[in-house]
Amino acid sequence: MRTIFEAQVEPLLAAGFVITVALWLVLSVWVVIDRVRFDRGQRKLRIIHRSVSDPRLVELSYAERSAFLKQLLDRMPARTIYRMAGDDELPAWVREECARMALAVIGLPQMLRDATPHRGARRKWRRVSALHVLLHARPSAIHALLRVALADADADVASAAATVLQRIGDERAAQILIEGLRTSRLPASRIAARVERFTIPLDRLLRPLLADERAEMGYWAATLLRDHHDEDGLAAALMPLVDDTDAPVRKAALMTLGSMVPLGVARVATRRLNDPAPFVRSAAVRALAQAGERTPDRARRKAIAASACPLLADREWTVRAAAKDALVRLGPGVWREVAAELSSSDGFARNGAAEVLQNLGVLDWTLRGIASGAHPTDEAVDVLRRALHEGGVAMSRAAALRSQDEPIGGVDDLLRTLRLEGALS
């Protein structure tokens, strides 16, 4: 048995050993050689980068610059030049020149063919590269090719198309991207990220979509108009969307109006505080906070706080969190409105109010007043007492720890007494 076993296995083992050693050796040597070649290429590219970034080159004529670059890129592989055409770190004129050179080698017809719908992974990445190079050549067919690419089922192709369209940056490109919000398989937020980087005003394209019967178009139009100014009645056109039947549209309209006309949004936002959709209620309270922050009118700010306070008792935690943030943003001037919630029958409202009062600095301010003998008003002391009671031991402990920064004599005893008094009152 021993002989048979060895006779069968030994040659196999020897062959296996030789094969594995050879494989390891070949792969290892290839890794090192590939890396050394890459580093050498990078060194050359760095020299080119440095040379083409010389500010004196800009003063040369186009023909002289072009000749200089051609000289630099002489003997560089076509693939490298192809890649340089899409390298954002190079000056625009170098990228364009590289694209032109790549086109000269590969030819526009081939490049256009590469940019058409693909089959297979290799063709896909060639298509993506072709789209980037065509950005510089700008053939008349580029928009049509990008429209098709944006609608492609493959997310990588669609994403590349969205990037190139944004870099083209003209109105036609914007139109394709905006249409792609609805038709592309790419998540709309990814397309919106490109649309918002356009430097040309897009309100002319987006505004008609506010009345579009497709809810998602209304949503994106309202969202993407956020950084626009209220010109030609844009805010007035957005106002009806606050009452749209589609909840995301209502939210988008509120948020855009909040940044476009912060003072004018208060009335409609107050109306939406009872919206059935929690995220609309959150958007409404945030819009109200924006309005409150901007208004110089203290009475108006207090009124806004009074309308936001009931949301401290909302059934959704996201809305309660938004309400707390909003009230803190309105500043310490609204403490009375917040303190009124300490008497609410709802537990969330009471401890939410205590937390807001803590974050407004009202508790620390009153505590410091008592400890320093400045005698805050009875009302302030009562609010402190009730807030500490609602906030629980942790709130008192936090206040005591905060006071360690500026030591207040007997603060622990004071806090304990106040909390207990709060419990009794």
Partner: protein, 479 residues
């Protein structure tokens, strides 16, 4: 050579046959993984080059992320780690650091560095945890919340952080892992391509003996450690992420989103009940649970692994520490496989049941037993003269270079994609490959045996290893 009875000879022959078959099946699996890893790496490389990260970075529509960083007795690392998290280049993030009842100066260091002030915060307790002792907010960076709680283990600390998290995606990290500024951006860019389906994501993180160097101004990309044990661990991680997890990801059965860096969709984590404190570690079990839940409820989902090197975590510098850590990993793998044994070869669980779980069962759970049996069998075969010394050496050589191949492939794929290690580091890594079998595997094998023994005993300890000595010992902040 000792004469052996026919019974012993027969036993040895069959043992050798089993050893060869096991090694052969493992080699086939490794070859399949290698091919898939090459395809996946090429795909990710192209995707990475074509990706427009700038638009994600500047967009108001980027999905916000809550980063949760639990720490326990991380006095030395807590501050640098939080700085690296707060330094993430991403539009909207919040960082929730959970101090899990540290007994050293971890909390004091954080309070001092980030000017923390105590606050009472009423949060939504979606997951049950040990009591919160105090919540702190930073006066210098409003994105930072520090939660101090009673000690309850990493899973409990993560659940506590989730209760405070406000955003849809959670980035769960380790308190001793340092991150590159684009760690969140790289993962979220991929996730934002398909947020409806991607519920979890992992990414490659390296092993360093001093990971805090990543935050230093003179940091110029990753390097090897100039320390054999550290470098073997780095290669181990590279192999795991660049070869295997990439391949598993392609097959849609990526079975472990590591605790060092894992992105999870909050709603799914809440739905499955949060991280479980009933296991030795929380990461692999959570991944198995999410797979099981999503496949059982027949919902479309993906858990992906990305090849980008986005962080460095501290690896043990001494063998006993490494044995202790790897024994824990072995233990949790066995605990998880045992818990989810119902998925084994069940077509309902698709590639997870048909490939992922069987692989983990055969080549992770039983690996230490097979490895020990193989070593004993081959030694006996040599002693009894069943295997001649030439065959014995040929087999050892084949195993050494065979196990080096996945390492070499991982180094190659990583270098093709990122070109971040220096050439001399590459050469060092490549040369270490064939030595792995003799210098590193025996440690892992022993750790595996210890892990199996601990599993049988029902041991659930974390066995945190002591922090490595620093060449330039930084004085603990706040000390």
């Amino acid at each position: 050579m000792i004469p052996a009875s026919p019974g012993v000879l027969t036993f040895l022959h069959w043992s050798i046959v089993i050893t060869f078959v096991y090694s052969g099946v493992l080699a086939c699996y490794a070859a399949m993984m290698g091919i898939l890893a090459v395809i996946e790496a090429g795909f990710r490389r192209n995707q990475d080059h074509a990706e427009d990260y700038e638009s994600v970075l500047e967009s108001a529509h980027s999905i916000p992320v809550s980063i949760i960083a639990p720490s326990y007795n991380e006095e030395l690392m807590a501050v640098p780690v939080l700085k690296s998290l707060l330094g993430q280049a991403y539009p909207t993030t919040e960082v929730i650091a959970v101090d899990d009842g540290s007994t050293d100066g971890t909390l004091a260091a954080m309070i001092k560095e980030f000017d923390l002030e105590p606050r009472q915060v009423f949060y939504r307790a979606s997951l049950a945890t040990k009591p919160v002792l105090m919540v702190y907010r930073s006066r210098t960076d409003p994105r930072l919340t520090v939660v101090s709680k009673e000690n309850g283990g990493k899973a409990d600390a993560l659940n506590c952080g989730i209760n405070f998290a406000r955003y849809r995606y959670l980035c769960c990290v380790d308190g001793d892992t340092m991150f590159t500024p684009d760690a969140v951006l790289k993962a979220m860019t991929m996730i934002s391509r398909d947020p409806a389906r991607i519920v979890g994501a992992a990414s490659f993180f390296g092993i360093s003996l001093t990971p805090e160097t990543i935050g230093e101004p003179e940091y110029d990309g990753p390097t090897t450690n100039d320390h054999l044990l550290g470098d073997f661990q780095l290669l181990d991680m590279m192999r795991a992420f660049v070869d295997y997890r990439a391949a598993w990801s392609k097959l849609e059965c990526m079975m472990c989103v590591s605790g060092g860096y894992g992105m999870w969709r909050r709603d799914v984590v809440i739905e499955v009940g949060g991280f479980s404190p009933n296991f030795t570690c929380e990461d692999i079990e959570m991944t198995f649970r999410v797979h099981e839940h999503m496949l059982r409820t027949k919902r479309p989902y993906r858990i992906i692994s990305l090849p980008n090197l986005i962080a460095q975590t501290e690896g043990p510098q001494k063998i006993p520490q490494l044995v202790s850590q790897r024994a824990r990993w072995q233990r949790v793998t066995m605990e998880t496989i045992w818990e989810y044994r119902r998925m084994f070869l069940r077509p309902t669980y698709r590639t997870v049941g048909m490939l992922g779980v069987p692989y983990y069962t055969l080549f992770e759970c039983f690996a230490p037993l097979f490895q020990v049996a193989s070593v004993v069998t081959l030694a006996l075969a040599f002693v009894y003269g069943v295997l001649g010394w030439q065959s014995y050496l040929a087999f050892l050589g084949m195993m050494a270079f065979g196990t080096a191949l996945p390492t070499t492939l991982a180094v190659s794929l990583h270098d093709r994609g990122y070109r971040d290690f220096r050439v001399r580091d590459l050469i060092r890594m490549l040369l270490l490959g064939p030595l792995d079998l003799f210098l590193y595997r025996p440690i892992l094998m022993w750790a595996g045996v210890v892990g199996v023994w601990e599993f049988m005993r029902g041991d659930k300890r974390w066995n945190k290893f002591e922090r490595n000595a620093r060449p330039r010992a930084a004085a603990p902040v706040g000390a």
